[in-house]
């Protein structure tokens, strides 16, 4: 596993991870991605804990966050990030199956930077992921303290 990611993807479903990686590969963004399989791992990465102890310093340029996660769910991760002085500047994009308004409202209330519903249609899905990756990892100027581009 690459420990020097600029995109932190938090996704528990291996199929969704594969589909997302496939989409990112098309723009050669896949080697920028670090994967956390649940909320706890995501926080471990951000706080240099557990298996991420001793990783290179710096925050990811963007965090792709699923909402429905085992152990610590997406909204809890989001809340933790946005209430931590060192982490709150990380752009967080919620990437979820849920079109439910209450998830959307809760995320925006917690200060999410974008909310994307995963389209069922594969082409749309690939396009959405590509655009996300390109925008946040390439076009957007990440906040100071982010991991530099290789």
């Amino acid at each position: 596993m690459d420990l020097f990611g600029r995109i932190l993807m938090v996704e528990d479903d291996p199929r969704d991870r594969e589909l997302t990686m496939t989409a990112l590969e098309e723009y050669n963004l896949s080697n920028e991605v670090v994967i956390a399989v649940d909320g706890e791992e995501a926080l471990d990465y951000l706080y240099h804990r557990g298996k991420f102890t001793g990783r290179v310093n710096g925050n990811p340029a963007v965090l792709l966050l699923d909402l429905k996660l085992p152990k610590v769910d997406g909204l809890e991760v989001l809340q933790q990030i946005k209430s931590d002085e060192k982490l709150r500047m990380i752009p967080v994009v919620v990437l979820t199956s849920s079109r439910e308004e209450r998830d959307m409202v809760a995320s925006y209330k917690l200060g999410v930077n974008a909310y994307v519903v995963k389209p069922v249609d594969f082409h749309e899905f690939v396009n959405a992921i590509k655009e996300l990756g390109v925008f946040w990892a390439i076009i957007n100027e990440p906040p100071p303290g982010s991991i530099k581009k290789k």
Partner: protein, 498 residues
């Protein structure tokens, strides 16, 4: 003449009063002289005294003095020697003085007696008035149907009005003199000592009491007590008014019970609603994910293996993809449909005119290529949830667009059918394929379709959504149609703000 008047009334005019004195003395003189003719001697003295007394009694002190003087003169002139002169012999002077003194004493007594009598009469009259007033008040208290009774500080009933008789069933004769608590078997809500403390402190008490009627049935009364004190401030009696609140009490208990039941039902419904919401949420999350995987992996497989797949296998792939996509649409529509039932409506003034314009521009992509003739009438404003009403119009208008696809000259008419006093009735009419009125009841059901999927695409949720939206606005939906002659969909929305 005095006899016609009330016994103690004085003669009002001075002339008459002094006249009475003169006439009385004159009459006494006349009678004495007349009796003198028949040798009755010595009657003049009492006659003159009677005339004086009469004058004082009926005419007062002044005329009394006049009567005394006149009597003295007449006595001297007619009855003392020498007769018919006013000359008084020295030997007669004490006799005169005695007469005048006696007459004056009589006059004084008469006046005194009169004053006493007057005072007596006055106090008797006052007493009578008081008695009348009290009687009147007591009968007034009997007029009211409110229960009023009075008891002394030993709880012995001293007054019992008709209302009390009506409520408790005991007559005044039965109740008076009885111990109120024993008679009425009163059940107090709090300790009686506490009530008495409050009564003595504030002079009043109010509360609900349970009491027993003469026939033994229980009655709940709203009771008000007022403490009466005498002039020294010592409590002497308690006046109680009672109102029968048995019925109200029973009603309150019933309402309480019903409220409890309602509360339970509400909790149940809330639980069901929560379950439904959790269900919809889980569909939204968990059902879409595997579907996305089916589509995603099928796409990737198609991409990787398209070279090795034959025509038949490629068609299988396409079918898998189409079916999965269709299921995605179904899930989305179903969620939207269930959301309408769960979401709160936000009422604002909505311009139907504006809404129709927006919807038409949304379907423009599909309609631009076709030569649809639109006819949109004047549309009113109404109170409703804007986004929901728009969704209803999107469904109705896109249906009209869809089902006129086979027409060479498609026509869609949107307008206001009528303006009933209490709302708006709007219609969307097309000259499309229409439907058989036989199946009109199936039109608005979920997943009900009157056309095959290969004729006209659709999930069968659109009209069900329309119906649910309009029902949530308190309105109705209905449709008219003929096969191949087009269809008209109506909906009504009451105008009052709900």
């Amino acid at each position: 003449m005095a006899q016609d008047k009330p016994p103690l009334a004085r003669i009002p005019a001075a002339l008459q009063r002094y006249g009475l004195a003169v006439v009385s003395v004159g009459a006494a003189l006349g009678i004495a002289l007349l009796l003198g003719q028949y040798r009755f001697r010595g009657v003049e003295f009492p006659l003159f005294l009677f005339a004086i007394a009469l004058s004082v009694w009926y005419a007062g002190i002044g005329p009394g003095i006049v009567a005394v003087l006149l009597s003295s003169v007449a006595f001297d002139f007619f009855f003392t020697e020498p007769l018919y002169t006013l000359y008084v012999r020295t030997s007669e002077v004490p006799y005169y003085i005695l007469f005048i003194l006696f007459a004056s004493l009589l006059a004084w007594f008469s006046a005194l007696r009169r004053r006493v009598e007057m005072a007596l009469v006055r106090s008797r009259d006052e007493l009578q008035q008081e008695v009348e007033l009290r009687t009147q008040q007591a009968s007034l208290l009997d007029l009211t149907h409110d229960t009023i009774f009075v008891r002394d500080m030993n709880h012995v009933i001293t007054y019992w009005n008709r209302g009390a008789q009506e409520l408790f069933g005991w007559t005044a004769e039965e109740a008076l003199g009885k111990h109120s608590r024993q008679l009425l078997r009163t059940v107090f809500p709090v300790a009686i000592e506490e009530i008495e403390r409050e009564l003595l402190r504030t002079d009043r008490w109010e509360g609900e009491l349970e009491r027993a009627k003469a026939d033994g049935t229980a009655v709940v009364v709203a009771s008000r007590w007022s403490l009466r004190r005498n002039d020294e401030g010592i409590p002497v009696a308690i006046l109680e008014t009672n109102n029968d609140i048995t019925q109200r009490k029973r009603g309150e208990e019933e309402v309480l019970k019903l409220n409890q039941k309602l509360g339970e039902r509400t909790t149940e419904l809330e639980a069901i609603n929560k379950e439904l919401e959790a269900f919809a949420y889980s569909i939204s999350h968990d059902l879409r994910a595997p579907l996305r995987h089916v589509v995603g992996y099928a796409e990737m497989l198609e991409k990787n293996a398209s070279k090795v797949l034959d025509e038949k296998s490629r068609r299988y792939m396409t079918t898998i993809l189409e079916s999965a996509k269709r299921m995605g649409i179904l899930i989305d529509d179903l969620l939207a449909f269930s959301r309408i039932g769960r979401a709160e409506t936000r009422q604002t003034l909505v311009s139907l005119d504006q809404l129709v314009k927006e919807v038409r521009s949304e379907v423009a992509q599909e309609t631009d290529a076709r030569n649809i003739s639109w006819k949109v009438g004047a549309l009113p404003e109404l109170y409703g949830d804007r986004s929901m009403l728009k969704l209803a119009l999107v469904n109705l208008i896109s249906n009209a667009v869809k089902f006129t696809r086979t027409r060479t000259q498609p026509q869609i008419e949107i307008g206001c059918a009528e303006r009933p006093s209490d709302g708006v009735v709007m219609f969307v009419k097309d000259n499309g394929v229409g439907f058989d009125m036989k199946y009109v009841n199936k039109l608005f059901g979920v997943f009900q379709r009157l056309h095959r999927a290969d004729e006209f695409e659709g999930t069968g949720i659109g009209l069900a959504t329309v119906q649910r939206i309009i029902h949530r606005h308190g309105g109705q939906v209905w449709a008219e149609g003929l096969v191949d002659q087009g269809a008209t969909f109506f909906f009504s929305v009451p105008s009052q703000r709900r």
